[in-house]
């Protein structure tokens, strides 16, 4: 299977790899997927409680090149956005940006789930009710 140039670029030079302290009250962590499905994404965001702006984002992903690229792109996109803006990111935006083929759409779905899960975790820490994040990733 040929990968798009953007997928290859994110794979070769993943953006924002790493971890943030998960016990920091301003850090939201999303861990989605499952090892037996071949994809696990961990997406973390440091969110300013005053402005609700995502100041930092980090990821680690176990998965194919498209999964790595989807999560790398997600960190790039959420940085500097407000929580509401980040929640508006759709998996189809990721598919379009990375030119993912149909068999890789689940990678983008997982990235969207990861964003929602991380923000949900942050909101929970701040006593805000978590949005009804997608409970299951479709594979």
């Amino acid at each position: 299977m040929a990968y798009s140039d953007k997928v290859v670029d994110h794979y070769n030079n993943p953006r924002n790899v790493g971890s943030l302290p998960k016990n920091d009250p301003n850090v939201g962590t999303g861990l989605v997927g499952a090892p037996e499905c071949g994809d696990v994404m961990k997406l973390q965001m440091k969110i300013n409680p005053e402005t609700q702006v995502i100041e930092e984002a980090k990821f680690k992903t176990f998965g194919c090149g498209s999964a790595i690229a989807s999560s790398s792109l997600a960190t790039e996109w959420v940085k500097g956005k407000t929580v509401d803006e980040a929640l508006a990111i759709k998996n189809t935006d990721i598919v379009r940006e990375l030119s993912l083929p149909p068999v890789k759409i689940h990678c983008s779905v997982l990235a969207e789930d990861a964003i929602k899960a991380a923000i949900g975790d942050w909101k929970k820490k701040h006593g805000v009710e978590a949005p009804a994040a997608a409970e299951t990733a479709s594979h």
Partner: protein, 406 residues
Amino acid sequence: MAVKLPIYMDNHATTPVDPRVLEAMMPYFTGKFGNAASRNHYFGWTAEEAVENARQQVASLINATAKEIIFTSGATESDNLMIKGIAEMFREKGNHIITQSIEHKAVLDTCKNLEKHGFEVTYLPVQRDGRISLDDLKAAIKPKTILITIMYANNEIGVINPIAEIGKMAKEHGIFFAVDGVQAVGKIPVDVQKDNIDLLAVSAHKIYGPKGVGALYVRRRNPRVQLSAIIDGGGHERGMRSGTLNVPGIVGLGKACEIAQKEMPEESVRLRGLRDRLKAGLESKLDEVYVNGSMEHRLPNNLNMSFAYVEGESLLMGINDVAVSSGSACTSATLEPSYVLKALGVGEDLAHTSIRFGLGRFNTQEEVDYVIDKMVQVVTKLRELSPLYEMAKEGIDISKMKWQTA
């Protein structure tokens, strides 16, 4: 010495044609183009002579006689013919077939097809080492069993089954024994007499011959095996496989068998050395790598390893100047991880991280060393990226976590 890239190390999928094989084939495309079935002119005789010579070369490699070899379009056809041919010929005698869960799809799907036509098939499980248990086999035999079909060596993990023991058991029970010999023939000694094999499927392109040609050994004595044809036509190949013979391909298969027979003792030792070097290199430089299947009962040219916490397709993407294959779901058409590794009891998480290395005649030590370095570099990089590796290092038991699964 600089290695030439890309490196091909996927010799279970296919092999390049040996230049000596190609040279033997060439005259049969142009000057010696006759139809081997043309019995009354020079062109036909020349082709027939070449085919009969190849038949002898194939027979010799497996300790059969030339008359027991029929030529086909490849091992998938041979597998179909040996199983469906016996099933149809002997369906009055019984409708039960025994196979195993990690056969090649050419055998599994043929058996599934027969199930739709009134046959009952037992799919034996394999043990953790990738071999069937002889006790399981014995317990599965019924009065209605007409055929046991078990592969000599597996195409993913290279594990070799106890073929001689199975052959003996089949013979004692008067059951035909059909063997998919694709990965074993030409790589390790295969002897249809010693192993009591009644039918054996062979492919040319796995042994440095051309694609599109294969053979089926059909025992003629003790017992004489009869088969129903699955392709009707001019009655070629003793009526078992109609169709004009692919003379250049058959010549190539014959030559490939001749070379394999002559060079196997030396080649298998060399490849085993390279394989062991590859394994030792990876194991010494990476933690948490696991060999899938028995190392003791294994083809000399195969290594199948799981690289924990690193997904197979992303690994392949990182080593894109090395051609190997993965048991990861993402590399298969079905999005399911390898059914072979699953049958061994390898967890799905580790199945996703498996890589199959298939060494071959044209691989060198320099290439092996390059592959070791590249693998270590990419696995290390991807583990830095892996949340599972991070969790494992923190002492979290990933298998006990609750994951959101579909």
